[in-house]
């Protein structure tokens, strides 16, 4: 013990300060590091679970098929089989939770034209129309059945 006290006092103060800083840092990091930090890597693991708990807006085709399986089966047999219900009908989570007629988007003329209007950038295999030369009315469904495009009504 006597030896230690022979150290110059300024050195002792510095040593005490250093020990104090390290102690304060370890106490702070013990209390402030999130429990899930380092679970998967150098980040807060709980962030993954938090991210996963967000609400969705698009329900997914399975949810649509619970009630509208007849329409989806029809769709699967024709050219539009690669489309999902929500491609044309818009986000459906609200409708899936509370099925009403007014909480799902109405598809229209613009819905068809969004994909089928002629555009030189579109790939050649895709069926396109120049609307002026093709039809001057306002309802594609007069001649086409969207769920089975090869059918003639």
């Amino acid at each position: 013990m006597r030896r230690l006290f022979k150290m110059p006092p300024q050195l002792i103060r510095i040593c005490l300060l250093a020990v104090g800083i390290v102690a304060a840092y370890s106490i702070a990091s013990y209390f402030l590091t999130p429990a899930s930090f380092g679970e998967y890597g150098w980040y807060r693991g709980a962030a993954l679970a938090e991210m996963a708990t967000r609400d969705r807006v698009y329900a997914g085709m399975k949810a649509c098929e619970e009630c509208h399986s007849d329409e989806s089966q029809k769709l699967m047999k024709h050219e539009h089989k690669s489309l999902a219900c929500e491609s044309c009908h818009g986000p459906g989570e609200a409708h899936a939770k509370d099925p009403r007629k007014d909480n799902v988007e109405k598809s229209s003329f613009a819905t068809c034209l969004r994909c089928h209007e002629a555009n030189p950038s579109r790939p050649k295999w895709h069926k396109q129309i120049v609307i002026k030369n093709h039809y001057t009315g306002s309802k594609c469904t007069e001649c086409h059945v969207p769920h089975s495009p090869s059918e003639v009504p």
Binding site: S36, A52, Y58, P120, R122
Partner: protein
Amino acid sequence: MKNPLSRRSVIGRISAVVAGVLAAPAAKAAKAVTQKLLVSADAPKDYDPTKHKWLMAIDANRCIGCGLCAEACKKENRVPEGPYFRTWVERYIITKPKPGSGAARGETLVDCPNGGINGYPEAPVLKEEIQHSFFVPKLCNLCQHSPCVQVCPVGATFDAPDGAVLIDPKYCIGCGFCIQACPYGCRFLSPVTKTAEKCTLCYHRITRGLKPACVEVCPTQARIFGDLKNPKPDDPLERFYRDNLVVTLKPHLGTEPRLLYAGIDKEVR
């Protein structure tokens, strides 16, 4: 020091030990309380990120530029109004070279009005002058050596074990380093939350067994999505590898993107 084992000293020592033993759980309880105050975590779901490896691939030959993916992404992730996109569709127009110039191709024109959501205006050049034109959907390139993760000063952005590159919104300080670092321009500073935002591969959907919103609505299956650790029978990703010659964007940067493209031109950056 005459009588080291006096009654007082023995009781003192015992109580010190007891206090030490009691202090540990008390400290643990205090730690839990502090952390609850700082970050409230929802109960983890029945999903193990180490058992999945999600991957997206883009077949540009199939993209018709309808913009449904960009619109669905905006709605699904509540992306703020205005020029903020987690995914968008670019239109490339490569013109014919000027006669006698000796060049193989003319100019490359790229545009993306409102992410492609409202369609595209008429081409800025005449139809006869276009040599080649196509659409390219863009999103986070899911880099294996992500520049955005390396520059984050607070460890808020990270490569999740299941293949998504995510941002912890509670830790992001909105400094914008990652936005500058991303060579693909896939991040933006949200004017609502004031934190960086980016494609999460619709993490809230894929963890519940759904496809990301953009993949769900794509009418031509230009976007292919799958789980490399749990391939389905006749997996769309496997089919994509088999049928296409795949490339990544900006391979010279060494970011090793996992997002794969098929059918894109050398002009696509």
